[in-house]
Symmetry: C2
Subunit: 442 residues, 2 copies
């Protein structure tokens, strides 16, 4: 049962596009990944479309076994670091939320707490943090590690890490600062709190060198789908992304995560569950199908196999492209994505080529007219599968423009989507309450 | 001998002000540290004054022995994290350089390389990095360390760290990217370079997930003054800050650092040495003196002693405020600052109160008319003590406004300062060449 009466929409701004071949599409800006003017324009279009937030992913684009030649057909090798990009977008936009991905596996909580608190101030309460544990195990190699920590250990660390960051955000009460020129007193000493977190993993004293963020805590987003991932989400996340691609699975996920949230002592109405969706939209169905077919035909086989190898967690370049997916050892990276792929391969018997074509646009591609897309959104929303969607764009800026110009008005006409931003902060717009400080005395 | 014919000026934007009591001054914005609109206004004023760069320091404001009551008279407890702030300022300004402080002692080179490369793109070639080794030893407590590493070890790490970051910035040749929609080839494989740095301290593979920055490498700034600090500066810095406060010492420093730069195989004409200076300016000398006296009288004794304790590396609150500086053990934090203070105390026999009054405005305070300030700048510049100055403001925004409105025109009238930005990137404006990639083949 969807508790909200309007959809929440996130814009997943993956440059130059979500689709493996998106950058080759005629209307794509292939060079957008390193062009701040282009990215400001994308963010402003998303804001015009009243998206609740833009979302910037962060996955190291390089595989464990680097092969420059294979990699050179991929457009996902360079882009901006998310927190710097969002800090720039903070002053180039006014109302849209700004969610950035930061890994708990290779970063330090004090720095993460500071940068996100700072972003929350720069954006006047519009920051969000997508907590990940690094789905690409090759990240280890850039942080002095021989191997990626085990999936389960990464989640243990992630939970403690988020707890520390929240504690650091509470270092100062909301009303700690006096700025009193007359007495010379800058703050009230009793309203400063020293975390003193000590554990085998972390020793963090505090206090944080940033006042309590405008939102209390920036919005926490999580996308883990494994058992450990869901439990983590239920314990700390405000917004949950998922890659569920069939309605029954999405409903089961929705109910499961809400139940875990209650079990963790939190109100499930204070979270938002957003499955990913990749709409391929055009004025008529045949135009939309042509667009999709054109995208699929633009996938260079080398790029397709490289992308599929990433999801499979194994180098597939030595297998026949028209043969089946070989047995792959269980990954320590993104388990959920590997399991989905292996299950789909087993069910359908698809070849490597057909599998990368299936994966190229993301798990949940809907091809059709604005009415078709709106029907899909409405159906999932009313079936209790989603509080809204994390919308992916096959290429930028064209696909985002089309969504804002064609789909948004249709959703609004149906009363499914807001006509203006309701509030000032991202929490306001998501209707997720501002958290109390852990040091609150009442 | 100063090789440049015009001064380089950096604006040290310490909010709410450089002077310990600056925030209490009537024209100060005491709340500016967490107000992005105020900081955008400061940066735009500095840009109107044609400053080559703004400079954001980063020192943990909390002492080793936290004492909330003492601390509560200090205005330097919260501010923005430098890299996020500068990313926001990148899109709110057009020509001014953006130099941020990042410590090599507690950060990871891969993340630092990414964030600074990203900032260089966001600002279209205006990024700089002030490399520090953390002058406050209490930073250790926020990064899981029981104690701050020794000064000498911090510099060993810093030099390797900078070398790695520069190597990561060279991951992609300037012309590596094809963006070739027709062939599907995104980049030229031979133009991607994998660092593979392996040492007892660091194992960093690469390549960096950001293309080569617009400036090749963002401008590197360094402010170490100890022997190890100067050697480090000579080996990697483009711009060198120093706190030299007498002309003879400044000339000796200038000559020494240039000689070390030559010895390191680099052209000393490709560096800029900028002593810090704190002008207290007004239309007449007596107005300027009144302004300075008023600032000095606003220092709350608790704040004064706390600030002095930081510089001394010892808690002075238990000593008589009108007695002498006690013996202090050698610090592992900012050695140079401690030595300067101890030497000054010994020479003058000043009390703790007089010492904090002396230190409150920074080492090099010049009180007077625009002509007095310009005379000082001109004298140092022509004496071969400086390529320009790192200008500090006792409080913001008033002191910055006064400098831009009163001193800048006087410097321009004398032909000592530029009338417009000459170039697009910070390197252009500093006349410091864009570095070649370490992988260049000729
Ligand atoms: C919409 C979405 C966005 C994600 N973004 C990232 C990301 O930016 N970086 C990353 O390392 N993992 C990302 N992931 C992967 C998740 O963090 C997580 O590893 C994945 O969903 C598998 O869950 P599990 O780790 O619990 O098995 C994303 C997943 C989804 C569904
Ligand atoms: C203008 C200036 C700015 C500085 N900014 C910082 C800073 O932001 N963070 C920091 O930890 N140290 C800062 N320092 C301290 C220096 O990095 C260095 O530790 C100090 O000059 C003493 O040199 P030494 O470490 O070689 O003894 C600064 C020093 C100067 C002169």
């Amino acid at each position: 049962m969807a508790r909200r009466n309007k959809l929440i929409l996130g814009a997943f701004l993956q440059t130059p596009g979500q689709h493996t071949a998106g950058w080759r599409y005629p209307r794509a800006n292939a060079e957008a990944s390193l062009d701040i003017d282009a990215q400001i324009a994308f963010a402003r279009t998303a804001e015009r479309g009243l998206f609740h937030a833009i979302f910037i992913a962060d996955t190291l684009p390089f595989p464990v076994n680097l092969n420059d030649e294979t990699l050179s057909y991929s457009a996902r090798v360079v882009d901006f670091e998310p927190i710097t990009l969002l800090s720039a977008l903070a002053v180039a936009t006014n109302r849209i939320g700004l969610v950035g991905t930061v890994t708990t596996t290779y970063y330090e909580p004090y720095t993460v707490a500071r940068q996100l608190a700072s972003l929350d101030y720069l954006s006047k309460g519009r920051a969000g943090w997508n907590v990940v544990t690094s789905s690409n195990s090759a990240e280890a190699f850039n942080y002095g590690k021989r191997e990626h920590p085990l999936h389960s250990l990464r989640y243990v660390r992630a939970r403690e890490f988020v707890d520390i960051v929240k504690g650091l955000w509470d270092s100062w009460d909301d009303d700690a600062f006096l700025f009193d020129k007359a007495s010379g007193k800058f703050f009230i000493p009793e309203k400063m709190h020293v975390l003193n977190h000590q554990s085998p993993q972390f020793n963090i004293r505090g206090p944080l060198g940033v006042a309590r963020p405008p939102q209390g805590h920036p919005v926490i987003v999580q996308a883990g789908s494994s058992d450990a991932g869901r439990t983590a989400a239920a314990s700390f996340a405000d917004v949950i992304f998922t890659a569920q691609s069939d309605l029954a699975g999405a409903i089961a996920f929705y109910d499961d995560v809400r139940a875990r949230t209650s079990a963790a002592g939190r109100d499930p109405d204070h979270i938002a569950i957003l499955p990913g969706v990749t709409p391929v939209v055009a004025a008529t169905r045949s135009e939309a199908e042509d667009k999709y077919a054109q995208l699929q035909d633009l996938i260079h086989p080398v790029a397709g196999v490289a992308m599929l190898s990433g999801a499979a967690g194994a180098d597939l370049s030595k297998y026949s492209i028209d043969g089946p997916l070989p047995e792959v050892p269980p990954t320590e990276g993104d388990k959920t994505r590997q399991e989905l792929l292996v299950a789909h391969a087993r069910e359908t018997g698809k070849s490597i080529r057909d599998l990368y074509r299936w994966l190229a646009s993301g798990y949940n591609t809907v091809v059709g007219t604005p009415t078709d897309i709106a029907d899909h959104f409405e159906h999932w929303f009313n079936s209790g599968a989603a509080d809204g969607f994390n919308v992916r764009f096959s290429y930028l800026p064209g696909d985002l423009d089309d969504f804002v110009d064609l789909v948004v008005p249709e959703l609004q006409r149906r009363g499914l989507y807001h006509d203006a931003y309701e509030g000032v902060t991202l929490r306001d717009n998501l209707q997720i309450p501002r958290p109390h400080s852990r040091y609150r005395r009442d």
